[in-house]
Subunit: 347 residues, 4 copies
């Protein structure tokens, strides 16, 4: 079986595993109050050029997103997200379970525009505001659920809209490494820290066993976040496991290397598919690609490859998603291309 | 520095670490739908003699408790807990954050009696029930926050009260191994499955990196629990990490061996302290003990030993908590005894 | 000032006021457990031909809707509503504040179709259901926020979709009287009780001081609703005020008379406006109408008339809403027509 | 049947009813944005000497309390209340349903002491605060659930504790009129506004059909409260009904007259019972009294009198509650005394 289903199918990068093994028998304080976490927080702040930020390590992405909503918002405030946003679709209503509405607006290939944000806010400024939620937290992800990335200009425009409208800009960086190492990217790590009020640096999908680092830049949003993390069940007892892993992946920019590799494998796969004449549902420069096949080919592929259904662009074709990870190697890519080629030839 | 602060100061048992390393590069499905989780679920059900149970692996205890409350209770239903219960005191209001009241009643050394449960329910049956919460989920822990354990007779009495009053019995088994291997314990693993509607089998405090296994025995409580886990941020992407670890610790009853060791170290320490004339705040047969020292000794100890403050039995004395873990060794116990002895001699 | 802003600008129908005055000095039990409430419940069940239903009297519509969501849904379940639905837009996220998502789908003139419901459910049946909310409560209103009404065939189709897909059908009847007395209506009161799992019979917008009667037909949804009402702050201490009012408005079908009057006034106004060449944003047969004027006329009207902004169909025109109530009289309608005529002549 | 069950068994004072009747056919804006509400807000602020306060009119007490909790507290913050506090016992977990814990401490005859507040806070300042809720809102009621009242010195001490510990002081004034007109009271209306961060002025239990006026003195607590009121279903469409009623009851201090009357009737009843040798469960100077009778007398009384069970001071006696209202007259008191006398003579 070939695995192109997601980027969390394997364990952790060997250097991460080694760091865990090396520190295994040490005794340290719990709940993230240990030297490993302290060091990893410093490394992260240095890398993203935000020395004043607060950094909290959490286990998973949904957990991080719901902690952000619970900690940052007052009861009448809402999240604005693209209709494809992870918080809008794939978190079982986790934000709503904290009491907050997710107001969805149309996105473009998974991206939210400053204009869409402005329209969403204006729809709620009608003179009867108290009967409506107050849009407050702008949720974006980079790379997006469609593998696309934001340009620096787009992020600047979102920041400007947030400043103008009194909103918080929050970036879900589950695949922040993929975004930063994508061909065509013009955003630097420090841009995220400068333009967002808070963002998270994703580890689960980039070579850690698990872990997301919530970076809070805006002073207003900093107090009592650890209380919220504990209340929402997100405080890891052996918290140093997160510090050890983030320390290892930040060292020598290993995280960029792993992300770059995943992108490269996916783009190699995309090029190979294109050479076979396969069209794409949309263009993605990162580690998720979305080829379109005749339905019969999709059915046939299921026997040999793990992947996800994505969409039905028409009655007889299906868009699927192939994802490469830090662990995907060239041999697997070639094997998948061979497999696709064989199936295409039988249609 | 000597570490007797808690039982989650170190990583995982070497056999657990090895299992993680061995499986690290495999590709499997996410979210707990992998062969490792499947095997661990089967092993756990076999060990607790509940072949029909549902088993869900979660990362932490607060997370598990709040998932149980959210999944099992309707909005008007409440939890009954001893006033020292973890859900009542040390989870930052996690249960209330799911909308449910925790109704606290006096406990005895951390234990909740059938009689206290009955009284709590009767206080809510006054003819104006709709103005009050409906007590529904009885929360107990074994071993308790005070290191004490339930007898089989006590659990049977609680079960009878729950049957009589229409309540669910839920056991927090963060230290279930410590309870089952304590001197004087007369409860068997299968008793928990037979007497509780649901319970969790704790891994974090017994030699795993992290992990709690929620075991749901009562059919009524089974549906849609995975939805709640996801909604509350408790679904681990690389879910197999839990399956691998639980598989390793269940193999050859390693979990009983590690728990027995932790208890033995704590009891050896207790015996040593008693020999030095140190009194105890209460008697505990498990891996947490609660010696009482003159305040000056407690202050002096802080330089050499990590431990937790517990209580002030009088103006000049302090009860503290020493905890041993699977990783505590005899040398550490002897070192602590020597340290205490030295400080006591200076008072 | 002419008042066409809404149908809750005045107090109650004189017969309702008289009933309140007549019973004022009696002593009765509180919280709706009095003979007036009992009689009103029986009258309502008789009128809607649902003798087995549970009836709960609440003060307001948002309160009733949020009680329904809190009482009927489990945490992972969601509401489906048209994007114009009151619960989706104008209740400050009241449903989300109970923890539940409102999944919005496009409506047609405020109406939700069986087809849209079916599509919404199918979008959530992708094989990864546990990562998504479970659509469960179909929210419709009749008449809708646009003054439109459902046909019997449309309601039958919704019921069939709900049966097929395992959904609850819930009808917000804030303006149920307007719907039942509209020209072209082919739905009978008993249809609502037969086709919905629960609905509410609105009093606030139809000649009561306040009051909505939640009618629960489906047995599954009945238990513990009074507990939820109390918990959500919806249980009126002097509950008989609701029984007295509903009793008065149900007597001799006064509610149909008041609703019919409001519709008649609005349709007379609409005919008058049409005669003046005024176009409409959409056609409504009930007591809310939506004329479109040049912006300058709208501005000018504000000096003399209270009304609500509705939409901007184009750059230079504005759709506004005029609402008539049981208390609107012909003289007011004529005065408004004269006022409009004067302003139109000046454009 | 004699009614001594509560102080919300009748409708409204005739002057209140007249004000409602007189304004019935006027057209005004909804949601409390009308001249009646404006005038009543001014009258209330003048009466309590808090010209800068925000005043919000709500329908009921539980609603008001839960709005306060939802609006004033962040997710990790908790309410401190006496164990007999209305929010702790008789609101079906309404506070918890907004996500906040109610931390209960022992009270004295329903009153919370500054010392108890201080202890409660100190229990949560252990160095592991993030694992515990943060006590923030001190809930007191005056008169209390036991009919007792606070002295000015006690309120000053509570205020001082709140200032010292960074807490909000919130007073549930469902029976504020009874407190202010009680024999022995040394608190003035303006003291409440000066000493509390917020309080509510109760109408339901003092001669209105319904209505509580939430008075917010502290600037920090003012923003967005109307949004919360709407979100929690507490915004009355025909909001002027509250303004009209509060206006009427505030005029010429009618509210003090009605409260004084209720107290006087209850105290007359208490004196009469004492003269019959009836002991009391506790002494109350307000409109609720708590006589203790042999069980047989209590059973016999049920045939003739509506009252509430209160407590079982011993095996053979029962404490019950008699409540007088603005509508209780001397004849009813005498009738009750005669009835009691007759039953006592038969024991």
């Amino acid at each position: 079986m070939l695995h192109f289903c997601n980027d969390y199918s394997e364990g952790a990068h060997p250097r991460v595993m080694r760091a865990l093994a090396d520190s295994n028998m040490e005794s340290t304080a719990g709940y993230g109050c240990d030297p490993y976490c302290e060091a990893a927080r410093e490394a992260l702040k240095a890398r993203f050029a935000c020395p004043e930020a607060d950094v909290h390590f959490l286990v998973g992405g949904t957990q991080t997103n719901l902690v952000a909503a619970a900690a940052f918002l007052r009861p009448w405030e809402a999240v604005i997200a693209a209709e494809s946003g992870h918080v809008a679709v794939h978190e079982t209503g986790a934000i709503e379970a904290t009491g907050h509405k997710v107001f969805v607006v149309p996105g473009t290939d998974g991206k939210l525009s400053a204009e869409a944000v402005r329209r969403a806010v204006m729809e709620h400024r009608t003179g009867t505001e108290e009967h409506m939620v107050l849009p407050k937290l702008v949720y974006i992800s980079d790379s997006t659920e469609f593998g696309t990335i934001y340009t620096r200009a787009e992020l600047l425009a979102l920041r400007a809209a947030c400043d103008e409208l009194g909103l918080w800009l929050y970036l879900d960086g589950a695949r922040i490494g993929a975004a930063l190492t994508a061909e065509g990217n013009d955003v630097a790590p420090e841009d995220f820290a400068r333009l967002c009020d808070a963002f998270y640096f994703g580890g689960t999908k980039n070579a850690l066993l698990f872990g997301e680092a919530l970076v809070i830049v805006n002073e207003t949003l900093k107090p009592f976040v650890r209380n919220v993390i504990k209340q929402r069940g997100g405080m890891l007892a052996k918290g140093r496991l997160l510090g050890v892993q983030f320390g290892a992946i930040l060292q020598d920019d290993l995280w960029l290397e792993t992300a770059r590799h995943a992108n490269a494998m996916a783009q190699r796969l995309a090029a190979g598919l294109a050479a076979l004449g396969v069209p794409f549902f949309l263009a993605s420069p990162t580690n998720q690609i979305f080829p379109v096949f005749p339905d019969a080919v999709v059915t046939a592929l299921r026997d040999d490859v793990a992947f996800e259904f994505w969409a039905k662009p028409d009655e007889r074709h299906t868009a699927i998603r192939f994802v490469c990870s830090w662990a995907t190697d060239e041999a697997q890519v070639e094997a998948l291309l061979a497999c696709v080629k064989a199936h295409l030839s039988q249609v």
